[in-house]
Amino acid sequence: MSDPLFTSAEQKRFDEQIAELLTHYPQDRKSAAMLPALRVLQTLKGWLPPEGMKLVAERLETTVPHCYEVATFYVMFHTEKPGKYVIDVCTNLSCALRGAEGLLKYMEQKLGQTAGTRTEKYFLRETECLASCGTAPCFQVNEDHHENLTREKVDRILEKLT
């Protein structure tokens, strides 16, 4: 038998949060809660497992394909396990002019993997502008934002990722 999707504490949080979300929308528009609902699931499980997608579809009175259509359109949703830490490095123009290409190379060397690849621990990828243009270069680690990055700062951040 496969493990249940949620622990009972997780199930409770999921139920409460989805119920709260549904109050934000017209009663005949439950599926409008799709993005926040997927975020609830991903926050609980670290990704969007298929059994969870079924549950979201049920609660939002829509179909599983609709859930996947949305989940695969947005890069922050993970329909595969992403690794413990998702590291998004901005390499757009404003960051590139402040050393972002060097930052990415440094990250690739430090982590021993190229951008776009995932291991158990890291999913390293290039991302698009993160609105740190005046405080470049920047990256996000599991959505936590770090800016004005230097080698020293990067070393300190990575040390804490155990």
Binding site: L35, V70, L93, L97, R98, G99, E143, H145, T150
Partner: protein, 446 residues
């Protein structure tokens, strides 16, 4: 010189308690909402906004009051109406709205309440980009405080007018900053833009009349009612009221987000000691993107332009979202354009063929030229593809449902037109003249 003497939008930034309701109220917060509710009819609010010359800060610079007036009257259309706040700040080079959310979230919320009352909207959704974890957390706290204090909820500050405000976080799609894609996303769908007309003011969220406004635009409302529409209009220049938040980035000594007067010039912004403080010794400006990466690039002799919305028209460029990116004389413009083109290729939603196919095609050609594999015919092909997506000039002739097509074509067209020699040099040399150092004065990772 036109250096701003009095801060308007940023005057309380950085004060530690400003993001809290107590701090905001201590500095006069929510008094404008109180006064508006007590003394003005909704139509009078819209008239004041029109008089103030407030224009959309999200990119298009459209007059805000006029946009509001497109919402049909309740007699003509009895459906609920909505306000959607565009906090999906994603245009490369742009970092201003996030600071309003982080430093002064109640300023936005007070503006939202004023706007909703004017529009007869009882629900507002703030759509923030998914990457704004911290700014969104600050805003969520502020929303909760406003409910707890009886500002939002069944009775807006005691007035018989229900107002609910919800924040929705996106999940990493630039296209959702396009207003109809934003509405699709709010409806729980992938962000595919809608054909216009009908415009959102008539058929928007859930098929109802909807106004979509940028964060900075709505945050200006409490200031307009504090000091008057005439004051706000006069503070600006020509037909652009108020001040502007701009983000200065790239090869300048002091990059950052600044509040500037509308008649400040790009040159002043780059060189003045209050702002960018110039370029390092021995470097000069080569190119400037003036309004987020989609805005056609300017050359060093075009930077005396004022930052006011209409001033960019004669240059066939735009003030856009206020993202100003400076490239110095030792920056490779081909590689710069490649970074920009790659973005639009990545972010094209895939709905329209010219954009879906054209943006990656342009990106491949630019990369080929940058890597020294360019051929003489490539530049013509590049320009032909761009022209097929959106002929330029002028701006706005795109062959796609939304402006993302134009947004990706404009940088290509303007870079190739204004810096053709650089592209040709790459092709004749079969390589980048800047070798391993293409990014100018600050391009090395420290």
């Amino acid at each position: 010189m036109s250096v701003l003497t009095e801060k308007v939008m940023t005057r309380d930034w950085g004060k530690p308690d400003q993001p809290t309701l107590a701090g905001y109220k201590q500095r006069g917060g929510y008094q404008q909402l109180r006064r508006v509710l007590d003394t003005l009819q909704p139509s009078q609010i819209t008239d004041e906004v029109k008089k103030s010359n407030l224009r959309g800060r999200g990119g298009a610079g459209f007059p805000t009051g006029l946009k509001w007036s497109f919402v049909p009257s309740l007699e003509k259309n009895t459906r609920p109406r909505y306000l959607a706040i565009n906090a999906d700040e994603s245009e490369p080079g742009t970092a201003k709205d996030r600071f309003i959310l982080e430093f002064d979230p109640h300023l936005l919320l007070e503006g939202i309440a004023i706007a909703c009352y004017a529009l007869g909207a009882h629900t507002c959704y703030v759509y923030a980009r998914g990457e704004f974890k911290h700014p969104s957390a600050v805003l969520d706290r502020a929303i909760a405080e406003a409910y707890a204090d009886g500002i939002f909820g069944k009775k807006l500050m005691g007035k018989d007018f229900e107002l609910n405000v919800y924040q929705v976080r996106g999940a990493g799609a630039y296209i959702c900053g396009e207003e109809t894609a934003l509405l699709e996303s709010l409806e729980g769908k992938k962000g595919w833009p809608r054909l216009k007309p009908p415009f959102p003011a008539v058929v928007g969220l859930f098929g109802c009349p909807t106004v979509v406004n940028n964060v900075e635009t709505i945050a200006a409302l409490p200031r307009i009612f504090e000091k008057g529409a005439d004051w706000f209009a006069k503070l600006g220049a020509a037909k652009s009221g108020g001040t502007r938040l701009v983000t200065l980035s790239g090869s300048v000594n002091r990059p950052g987000t600044y509040e500037v007067a509308m008649d400040t010039s790009l040159r002043e912004l780059i060189y003045d000691k209050a702002y960018g403080q110039g370029l390092p010794e021995g470097r000069s400006v080569k190119a400037v993107i003036p309004g987020g990466s989609s805005a056609p690039v300017l050359t060093a002799d075009e930077i005396d332009v004022k930052l006011e919305f209409d001033a960019f028209k004669p240059l066939q460029s735009m003030a856009g979202s206020g993202g100003i990116i400076v490239m110095d004389d030792q920056t490779c413009v081909v590689r710069s354009l490649w970074r920009v083109a790659r973005f639009y290729a990545e972010e094209s939603c895939g709905q329209c063929t010219p954009c879906r196919e054209g943006q990656p095609w342009m990106t491949r050609i630019i990369r080929k030229i940058e890597e020294g594999r360019g051929e003489a015919a490539d530049l013509d092909t590049l320009m032909n593809v761009a022209q097929a997506i959106a002929p330029w000039p002028p701006i706005g002739l795109g062959n796609t449902i939304c402006a993302l097509g134009d947004a990706g074509a404009l940088p290509v067209q303007s870079f190739v037109q204004k810096f053709r020699k650089d592209f040709e040099e790459h092709i004749t040399r079969q390589g980048c003249p800047y070798g391993e150092r293409p990014w100018g004065a600050f391009g090395e990772f420290q």
